[in-house]
């Protein structure tokens, strides 16, 4: 069936034809202008009428009469009124054929085969083809703009495309043809269209997402304009609604009416993914006695979001009978706590508040900080749960308390009496797609407020970054916070169009994490030269450095798995061969400073309380060393020294961290380790490595052999070793390596001397001396530093004290029969 025939099947065709004569935009302008003209004309007419009897305006009167202006004015008013009514009628006509895909599931009539948006696209393409229709229709243009496609690019592309003559309308299994079907059809059949999008980094998922958002935007606007719908009329508060219910003076002091919150009254109808939770609350509050609910969820705003959604449903009268017309009031526990300093006043206030709620009769009491209130009253020696028990067990009150999951398990779950009266309702954390959807409405509001424009990719990035770069808090909260903060920032920096790159730039500024948006020239050079940069500091471990460098380049360019740490390495090898130095060098090169290396000596975590010390104690409430460390610095290198020495529980913890990129501390909060490079070092297998080197083999080639031996010894489980991105073998240092290290160390001393105006001459004999006396097989180059301190630096210090080494002098060390001498010249 060709497009035109397909279009004519539905009664929408007439509306589309009308639109092609007078577009929606034109109609809206027409109604606005005619309204203004009518107002002005009526005012002028009134002026003529009242000035008729006044002597002052005789001149005007004569003028008006001469040209019979009054009659003409009336004619003009009538004419404009006709235009105004016409434009309004046309808009009604258009509105009533609008098919709501997202907001209300329309019951479509038999002759509706396609949605209005589809009609617009096909109508625009009825003389060309569907692709041209998509690019030339207002809906299509809007979608392309949301995808960040520049107007001119779109025009250039579509002008270069050949028109397919007599293209047939695509077919669908659904009863009604939706815009997503058109997009699917175009994306899968028009290769050039797909290429056009892909070359701009746009995937099909993003195309469909942008469509969903655009449809949502159009529908919200359309839906909100239909003020006569019952759900909108229900929002207007009745005149005598409160007359039959009691007053709540005390509760007004300690709380607020949630119906007035801006989240409840926000114009945009949010995609509520909270129907399940609201249903459970409705059930709990509808019970004949003990009609209370306890919302249990992660710390953050998610629980309140459920409450707000519930309030919105009450307002729209879209809720079950026991909640209809109810007034949810939030008791702000902190107000109560700060007002009541002793047991008696707290108890009496609580009893008064609950009595008020009972006598008022139309209140749902929402207690946000239930745990805080509970703990505070316990600390005053008062039995909070017992005080409220008679109320919550009665038939005449509805209470919703909000508690964090960990508190729920710790304090309330096992309290049988409390759980009899409070029905626990678990608040689920939103998944990625749901977070994207709740941002739709908020982003549109922000656009209006700040006069900026978000692309769909930006919206996606909000949700993405929330879980990726921020380890604290619930993702949906974080995503909303980023959105709220980014708009003023964008204005300050002169961005009107906020795309993915701008979002990443903002996050990078906020967190100091180089997000994988644009890789700067400087960083690009660093990444390409990683081997050399690390090699300047780590001597003799070429194979190890290459392996680490490759892994890091993968991470930074975004090829890595985003749900894992940036990198994780197990460094095996004897002591003092450069394992720690590699970690330091990485922190310096990759994260800008050695201070971005965090070190945990795992040999300190061998005892049974190790887990508690690392991730916090449940009993004492003390935060853990490791969880605090990661929270403070979400981005850097974590060095786990002597990894094999820690206990089994800790090893199991790392099994999860390396695999999933996060762990939960004792308070149940997730800590993200996705922006961390983990380096575990161990000198397990060092003996084998030595033996191999002595036998003239390269330990790198015998990696499997070494790992096998470690597993056999039971130091690490094979699954743990497999979790690391790479196991890297460090070989013992050769003499030439040691010499180079000695030289580097001596140069460091020399640099410090230069600051004092002294010159330290570094000769080969000195280097040989340091290597010979400062290093040994078992500890590699590690003792060398100490040796330099004890011999070279001490000698220099003595010279300075004696007053021999003055500014401008040169210090030369001599070695004879392995005895160190020093000269100043």
């Amino acid at each position: 069936m060709n497009i035109k025939k397909f279009l004519q099947q539905s009664s929408i065709y007439n509306v589309l034809a009308m639109e092609s004569i007078i577009s929606e935009d034109f109609r809206n302008k027409l109604s606005k202008i005619s309204k203004i003209i009518i107002t002005i004309l009526v005012l002028t007419l009134l002026f003529f009428y009242f000035s008729e009897n006044s002597v002052k305006f005789v001149g005007i009167k004569n003028f008006v009469n001469h040209y019979s202006l009054t009659t003409r004015l009336i004619g003009l008013i009538l004419f404009n009124l006709g235009i105004y009514i016409y434009s309004k009628l046309a808009n009604f006509y258009f509105s009533s054929t609008y098919y709501f895909e997202k907001i209300v599931q329309n019951k479509y009539s038999k002759d509706e085969f396609y949605t209005f948006s589809v009609g617009r696209i096909l109508y625009a393409g009825r003389k060309t083809d569907i692709l041209h229709g998509f690019f030339n229709s207002t809906v299509g243009k809007k979608i392309l703009l949301r995808l960040g496609v520049a107007k001119n690019d779109a025009i250039d592309f579509i002008n270069s495309q050949q028109i397919i003559q007599n293209e047939n309308a695509p077919e669908t299994q659904e009863k009604v043809f939706k815009i997503i079907d058109i997009a699917d059809y175009l994306y899968s059949t028009k290769i050039n269209f797909k290429k056009f999008l892909n070359s701009r980094g746009i995937t099909d998922k993003e195309l469909f997402g942008a469509i969903e958002w655009t449809v949502y935007e159009i529908e919200t606007k359309e839906y909100d304009s239909q003020w006569w719908r019952p759900e909108f009329l229900a929002k207007i508060k009745g005149l005598a609604e409160d007359w039959s219910f009691g007053q709540t003076f005390l509760l007004n002091k300690y709380g607020r009416n949630l119906m007035d919150d801006k989240e409840v009254n926000s114009e945009a109808i949010s995609f509520s993914s909270r129907e399940a939770e609201i249903g459970q609350i409705e059930n709990a509050l509808s019970k004949s006695s003990g009609s209370n609910a306890m919302l249990v969820g992660e710390p953050g705003q998610e629980k309140m979001q459920v409450i707000w959604s519930m309030c919105r449903n009450i307002k729209n009268d879209n809720i079950s009978a026991p909640l209809q017309g109810k007034k949810p009031i939030l008791l702000i526990a902190n107000f109560l706590i700060s007002a009541c300093k002793d047991k008696n006043s707290l108890e009496s206030q609580i009893i008064k508040i609950f009595s008020e709620v009972v006598s008022a009769g139309n209140i749902i009491l929402v207690i946000a900080n239930f745990t805080e209130l509970y703990k505070y009253s316990e600390s005053l020696g008062s039995d909070f749960l017992n005080i409220i028990n008679p109320f919550i067990a009665s038939t005449s009150i509805q209470v919703v308390s909000l508690v964090n999951s960990s508190d729920f398990h710790q304090y309330f779950e096992n309290n049988k009496i409390l759980m009899n009266d409070f029905e626990p309702v678990l608040v689920r954390s939103l998944n990625f797609d749901e977070i994207v959807k709740i941002i739709y409405a908020a982003a549109l509001e922000s656009e209006k407020k700040y006069n900026i424009y978000f692309t769909y990719q930006a919206i996606q990035e909000f949700a993405n970054s929330a879980s990726y770069y921020f380890s604290n808090g619930v993702s949906s909260d974080v995503a909303m916070n980023i959105l709220n903060e980014i708009s003023p920032w964008a204005i300050r920096n002169g961005y009107r169009l906020v795309g993915k790159d701008e979002v990443l730039e903002y996050i990078s500024k906020k967190t100091n994490i180089p997000t994988s948006g644009k890789i700067s020239e400087n960083e690009k050079n660093k990444l390409l030269n990683l081997e050399n940069l690390i090699g300047e500091r780590v001597v003799g471990q070429k194979d190890a450095i290459v392996a680490v460098s490759n892994a890091l380049r993968r991470a930074r360019t975004g090829v890595r798995n985003p749900n894992k740490p940036i990198g994780s390495f197990l460094f095996l090898g004897p002591t003092g061969v450069g394992k720690t130095e590699t970690a330091k060098a990485l922190a310096y090169v990759f994260f800008g400073s050695e201070t971005n290396m965090m070190r945990l000596d795992m040999s300190e975590y061998q005892t049974d309380d190790s887990m508690e010390r690392l991730i916090g104690s449940f009993d004492s409430g003390k935060p853990g060393i490791f969880s605090s460390m990661i929270r403070e610095k979400q981005y850097g290198v974590v060095l786990l020294d002597e990894f094999e020495k820690t206990n089994k529980d800790v090893l199991n913890l790392f099994l999860q961290i390396l695999d999933e990129g996060f762990f939960s501390d004792t308070s149940g909060q997730k800590v993200s380790t996705r922006n961390i490079i983990f380096i575990a070092t161990s000198n397990a297998g060092a003996d084998t490595i030595f033996e191999m080197v002595n036998a003239g083999k390269n330990p790198k080639d015998a990696q499997d052999e070494i790992v096998d031996e470690i597993v056999k010894k039971g130091l690490f489980k094979p699954e743990l070793i497999n979790r690391f991105d790479a196991t890297i073998i460090y070989k013992p240092l050769e003499d030439s390596d040691l010499k180079q290290i000695a030289k580097i160390m001596l140069e460091k001393v020399s640099d410090r001397m230069i600051e004092k105006g002294l010159i330290l001459e570094i000769s080969d004999t000195l280097i040989d001396y340091v290597v010979k006396n400062g290093s040994n097989k078992a500890f590699g180059a590690r003792p060398m530093n100490r040796f330099i301190q004890d011999s070279i630096e001490e000698n220099i210090a003595n010279l300075i004290l004696k007053g021999e080494a003055l500014s401008g002098k040169t210090i030369t060390f001599t070695v004879e029969n392995n005895i160190l001498g020093v000269k100043v010249s």
Partner: protein, 130 residues
């Protein structure tokens, strides 16, 4: 031809689907008026005390205190009844006025397409020929 077809399509909508919608619209507004004046809830609680302002009766029988409470509560009830009566009457009058207007607005709706043309034509006539 296209223009005529579009116009006929419009007329079909105006006297068909749209007319149905108009009835729904009227119903919505009437329900809204009922709710706005809280007529149902006021009638349901017609004899309750004003904003639930009522004392509970003393537990030990004390004729003086008992009578005092009874008097206070009665006043609260009388105030309540009075206020509710006024509000219900105002509400019912508004609804009645609204219902009386409906036939008129039906005529207006039916005449609208002709009215639009008439307004434009008549307006032009007045502008040009006066």
């Amino acid at each position: 031809m296209k223009f005529l077809k579009t116009f006929l399509g419009y007329l079909k909508w105006h006297y068909g689907k749209a007319l149905n919608t108009t009835f729904v619209f009227w119903k919505n507004i009437l329900i809204f008026l009922f709710n706005f004046f809280s007529i149902k809830s006021l009638a349901g609680n017609f004899f309750s005390p004003w904003k639930r302002l009522a004392d509970s009766y003393p537990k030990n029988f004390n004729i003086k205190a008992y009578l005092f409470t009874f008097l206070a509560n009665s006043i609260s009830r009388i105030v309540g009844i009075l206020m509710r009566t006024i509000m219900i009457l105002v509400g019912l009058c508004t609804c009645a006025a609204y219902i009386l207007l409906l036939p008129f607005s039906l005529v207006v709706w039916l005449a609208l397409p002709i009215l639009v043309i008439a307004l434009i034509v008549f307006g032009l006539v007045l502008i040009i020929f006066s």
